[in-house]
Structure formats: C-alpha cells, structure tokens
C-alpha cells in the first residue's frame, strides 16, 4: 500500500482523471467575520473536498511569504492576525482526519519549520494526518538534510521544477522526487494571470524522462479553461489564489462553485 497521496494519484490514473489540488490557508477567516480560525478552515476543507478537490494543500501562514502573490500574502496576514500558529495548523489537520481521508500536504516557509524543529514538525505533522510538505523557499540544493528526515519518517517532500530547471538540475530533482512534483507554470509568484502553458508542457515532457512521480502544475490557474489547458500537460493542477480570493471576500459559495466547475471541466476534458 502506498501513502494517501500515492493511492490518490494511482486511483485517478486508473480512472483516467486529473488531480485537482486546492490550496487553503490555515486560519483563513472570511472578510467581515471575526477570526474563528481553525474551525472555519476545517469547514472550508470539508466543503472543498465535497466540491471536487482531490488533494488539499494546507497553507501555513508566514510573515514574509516570498514566493506568494498579493492574495496569499493577504490571506497569510489575516490568518496571522487571527492568531494562527504552526501547532494550531497541526490541530486543523487532526480535525480534518476525523472525517476525511483526503490527502493533505502542508505548504509553508522554511523558517517556521526550522524554528519549530524540522524533524519534530514532520513527526507531529504525520501523526496529525499530514501526508507531506511543500517548502517553496528551499530549492533542491538545500534540501538534502530535510529529505533525509522525510524519507526516514515516510513523509513526502515535494520538489519544484520550473521552465528554468534544466540539464543536470532537472535530472537530480526528478530522481529524488516523491509524492508529486510541483511544476511552476511560469516566471513569477502565485496568483499571476494569462499564462502560456505550453512552456511548462515542454518542461513536464523533459521531467518525464527521469521520473514517473505525478506532475502537478501550479501558479496562475484561475479558471476552468486554464485548469484544463494546464492539466493536459500533466497529472494534475494546483489552484490557490483564485479560490483564496473568493474566500477572503467572504464568497465561500463562489469559491466552491469554482472548484466544482474545475472538477467538471477536468473530468469532461479527460473523457474526450
């Protein structure tokens, strides 16, 4: 038996479907509402899964999210103002595990995990029901020590590739990948618009020479059309800012509608 994450991708592959990965900031509190942090996040995850999300990325809010655009920055600020911390985010994972087996991966910045103790974070994260972690400010060159920990603990440490990942770096990154590979669709940060997905398509094709680990494309996927275009190049798509924008505005219904539309569009495109 594989991990929840591996099993999910295997199941989707058997069904000929693409993965829809939804990012939700831990401690997100919709506009106008007081910070009822953890419970609101648990409910958002429950609803996102029901609307069609295959995998949830649980964002650990950080004061200086270097790889994130304005929407996730704003969500992080609001979550931190509401008192979100790393231990509380682990509590959210534990709550979700009471009713769901949806694969859950944390996405956060290295300083917070380092300060907590990376190994302690992995141990407690796994016990809380997390399946892996994405750390966008640690490139492959700096992750050997972390990989040693995650491998020993049976936890996934996601690798990144971008249109600029080439040659030996691409080969090395792919060979050590686990869970899924986060394929950054374009130059920039999260939440950018109007992307030509053919560039990352070429990158995905290159990655395929070195690994069978699933490829998921993220950054800038805001509509069903974009999701379908991106998914055609890979095994799944990651949607963050578009969903978070609606949640931040207090439009939970619209956020869930978007997830539902993407789910339908992805499934329809795969049947063709």
């Amino acid at each position: 038996m594989g991990t929840r994450l591996e099993n999910k991708f295997a199941e989707l592959k058997r069904q000929g479907r693409k993965a829809l990965i939804i990012y939700i900031t831990a401690g997100i509190s919709p506009a106008g509402k007081s910070a009822d942090g953890p419970q609101a996040t648990v409910e958002a995850v429950r609803a996102a899964e029901a609307a069609g999300a295959d995998i949830i990325e649980l964002g650990l809010p950080f004061s200086d999210p270097m790889a994130d655009g304005p929407v996730i920055q704003a969500a992080s600020v609001r979550a931190l103002q509401g008192g979100m911390t790393l231990p509380k985010a682990l509590g959210i994972a534990r709550e979700i595990r009471k009713f769901s087996e949806v694969p859950l991966v944390a996405m956060g910045y290295i300083n917070q995990m380092h300060h907590y103790g990376f190994e302690k974070f992995v141990q407690e994260g796994k016990a809380a029901g997390l399946d892996g972690v994405i750390v966008p400010d640690v490139p492959h060159e700096e992750s050997a020590g972390m990989r040693e920990v995650t491998q020993r603990q049976g936890f996934h440490l996601m690798e990144f590739i971008t249109p600029g990942t080439t040659g030996e770096r691409m080969a090395r990154t792919c060979r050590e990948a686990t869970g899924f590979i986060y394929c950054v669709s374009n130059y920039g940060v999260t939440g950018v618009k109007e992307i030509d997905y053919s560039a990352i398509g070429k990158v995905c094709a290159e990655a395929r020479k070195f690994t069978q680990v699933p490829l998921a494309i993220g950054f800038g996927i805001g509509t069903s059309e974009a999701a379908v275009q991106a998914a055609a190049q890979a095994d799944g798509v990651i949607v963050g800012s578009a969903v978070m924008q609606r949640m931040l505005e207090g439009k939970m219904g619209e956020a869930l509608d978007l997830i539902g539309e993407m789910r339908q569009a992805l499934d329809k495109s795969c049947i063709r």
Binding site: D64, Q73, I110, D137, G164
Partner: protein, 396 residues
C-alpha cells in the same frame, strides 16, 4: 546542508526554484570576473573617477580632544558620490549586470541610499531601473524618492506587510522572479542568497583595504579598533573583512537599539534577541517570535531597521571575530549632533550609531591607541527627520 556559499553554518541559498538559474548565472559571472584583470581595472576606475575613491581617513582632532583618549579617525565614505558607501556595491553589480547582458536592474531600499546609488548607476550605464521602497520609508525619505525619480528610476512604494525594508526586499525578489531573464537584482547589503553576501562584501572591501594602507601611512601601524554600524552590514563587512585574521584589531559592529528592549522596538539582531533563522535567502541571525514569524525591526534610522543581518556577520559573531553591540535612538541622535558641532560633519543617522558607541568605548581606550569609525554616509537625508524629532522633544 549545501556547503556552497556558507560562512561556517550561515548563508546558503534559500530561494524559490524559479530564482535558482539566475543565482547560478550570477555566481558564474561573479566567479569569472572577480579576479579578471580587465573587470577589476574597470571597477576600480569607476570607483576612482566616478565615485571618488579612495576616501580619506580623516583624523578627527576635535572629537579626539572631546574624549581625551585614543586618537579617532573617520573613514569618510560620506564623501563618495551619492553620499554613502552604497555606490561601491551598486557600481560593481551594475558592471556585472552589463556583462551578463541584463537590460534592467531592480533594487530594494530602506533609507533610500541604496536606491539612489542603484538609480545612479542605472543612469550611468543606460539601464532601466525599478526600486522597491516600503511605503512608510518612502514617506519619511521623500527627498530620496525624488532623487531616484530625477535619475530616471521608477520607485514603487510597497505597502504589503509593514511597508518597510523587509517588505520592499520581498517585493523586489518577487519582481525579480517574474522578470528574471532580463533583470539583475542589485541587493543593497551583504545579505540574501549566495553569491550576494560574498559578492557585496567584495565590492565593499576596498573600505578596509584603504583603512589598512592609510593607517600604515598615517599612524605607522594598524588601528586598535574598527567601529561600524550594522543593519544588513555591508559597510561593516567592507571595513572588517581585510582585518578578519587580525584579532589585535578589535572589530565592533553597532546595531540599532531603537526605543527599547521589547519585540519590535529595536533591530538588535546580533546584539539582542535574534536567533538563527532564514529570511530572504540566507541562514543567519534573525529577529523572530516563538512561532518562527519574522518580527518587525524598529530604528529611528531607515537604513538599520532590518530584522535580519548578513550571514558573514553571524559567522563573525559566533567565531568571535567581531563583537556586536547596540546604541539607542537617543544616543544616536546625540552623536548626530555631536559630530556636526565638533567636526562640522553631519553624519547619516546610520553612521551616527557607530559614532554613538564612542561614548562607551572611548573611556576604555588610552591615548596611544587608535579608533577608526566608518562614516558610512552623510546626513543630509536625515536633517528634516531630525529637525522634526528634536522639535518634538523641545515641545514636550
């Protein structure tokens, strides 16, 4: 741990994957040109002809008399073109950017000195220039904003986070990540991912090399003390580096003690509550809370309120190569006025921190000894702010 670009355990390359190819390209260019005779000659020619190096090692007779102890010399980086040591690094990086074929430069700035230096070299070399500046800083350093615009730069105020230097830095990195193929990021201090800390230090190390030569000439030996202010720490590392293997030359970095000991009241990264952590690409001492969130730094000086510090300084601290101390806003303000009155030199608020430490250091020194203070910049930019603060104090 990646051994590349480390100072002991500090440093490294903690950046998004999208930035890595650019860092590798930059490292390649830096390694190729740093010892290239043609590059070195071009760089030193610009430093000499355009920026005004070497700067004087000025014997501050009045200040020496004031304390009545060791002789005090001032390393006059304030006399450089654009008014601060920042031009050394901006020139070096712009020359590298040219060789890498980059058409645009981007920079972050706190007090605006680095932004002005970058805008200046961009004008000189005909490159497009974008400067990110915290909205709060842009307000308190309006004159520098106008200077940058006059030089043809686009100044982008950053209001995300707390609207100061660390947010401007994050935003500059985001912009760089988006435009990485034709843009070079000129980091203003000896911070950030490898190769920046080593490269910026190399572009600033002329300060220390000149101090050595000028000391030998003027006092017939090496100074006993080197004192420099530390925000990110580029003027300090530039001053200390050439003396790193000489314990007889005591190296003292002075941080901003701000308005008190509380979190968010100072920028005492090395001399206060900082713990090793990762911000803006490097593992170094960092002001952070118990959840690992970066704590906003505070200082009266817009150039020192950075919650991180250059990784080489973290190494110097742990290895005992240099000592790190702090002075408060109030002490720095007093030093600002003291140097103006006694020497007729208005120092930058940043440099005033180094000068303020003389109050504590001088009583421990003897007349045979020599103290060199790096006067990293001139204080014209701070005059308005100081007038306001002093006015408020008098009114109170």
């Amino acid at each position: 741990m990646n051994k590349k670009g480390r100072f002991g355990r500090f440093g490294g390359q903690y950046v998004p994957e999208i930035v890595m190819p650019a860092l590798n390209e930059l490292e390649g260019a830096y390694l190729k040109y740093k010892d290239d005779p043609e590059f070195k000659e071009e760089f030193s020619s610009y430093l000499r002809e355009y920026a005004g190096r070497p700067t004087n090692l000025y014997y501050a007779e009045g200040l020496t008399r004031h304390y009545g102890r060791a002789r005090i010399f001032l390393k006059r980086e304030d006399l450089l073109h654009t008014g601060a040591h920042k031009i050394n690094n901006a020139l070096g990086q712009a020359l590298l950017a040219q060789r890498m074929g980059k058409k645009r430069v981007v920079a972050e700035t706190g007090a605006g000195q680095h932004g002005v230096a970058t805008a200046t070299v961009a004008a000189l070399f005909g490159m497009e220039c974008h400067v990110f500046m915290g909205a709060v800083d842009a307000e308190r350093q309006k004159l520098n904003v106008f200077r940058m615009q006059l030089l043809g730069a686009k100044v982008i105020p950053v209001s995300s986070g707390t609207g100061t230097l660390k947010d401007a830095t994050s935003e500059a990195i985001r912009y760089w990540a988006t435009n990485i193929r034709d843009t070079h990021y000129i980091i203003g201090s000896a911070v950030g991912p490898h190769p920046y800390p080593a490269m910026v230090r190399d572009f600033q190390k002329a300060i220390g090399e000149e101090i050595r030569a000028q000391s030998l000439e003027k006092i017939g030996g090496l100074p006993d003390y080197l004192v420099a202010c530390v925000g990110g720490g580029s003027n300090a590392i530039g001053s200390f580096y050439d003396f790193r293997e000489e314990p007889a030359v005591k190296k003292i970095g002075v941080e901003a003690g701000g308005r008190g000991e509380g979190a968010g009241d100072n920028a005492k990264t090395l001399s206060g509550a900082g713990e090793p952590g990762i911000l803006h690409g490097a593992y170094s001492y960092l002001l952070q809370n118990e959840d690992g969130q970066v704590v906003e730094a505070y200082s009266i000086s817009a150039g020192l309120d950075y919650p991180g510090v250059g990784p080489e300084h973290s190494f110097y601290k742990d290895a005992g190569i240099a000592e790190y101390v702090s002075v408060t806003d109030e002490e720095a303000l007093a030093a600002f006025q003291r140097l103006s009155r006694i020497e007729g030199i208005i120092p930058a608020m940043e440099s005033s921190h180094a000068l303020a430490y003389l109050e504590k250091l001088m009583p421990e020194t003897s007349p045979e000894e020599t103290v060199v203070v790096t006067l990293s910049g001139r204080g014209d930019k701070d005059v308005q702010m100081v007038a306001k603060v002093l006015g408020e104090q008098e009114g109170a």
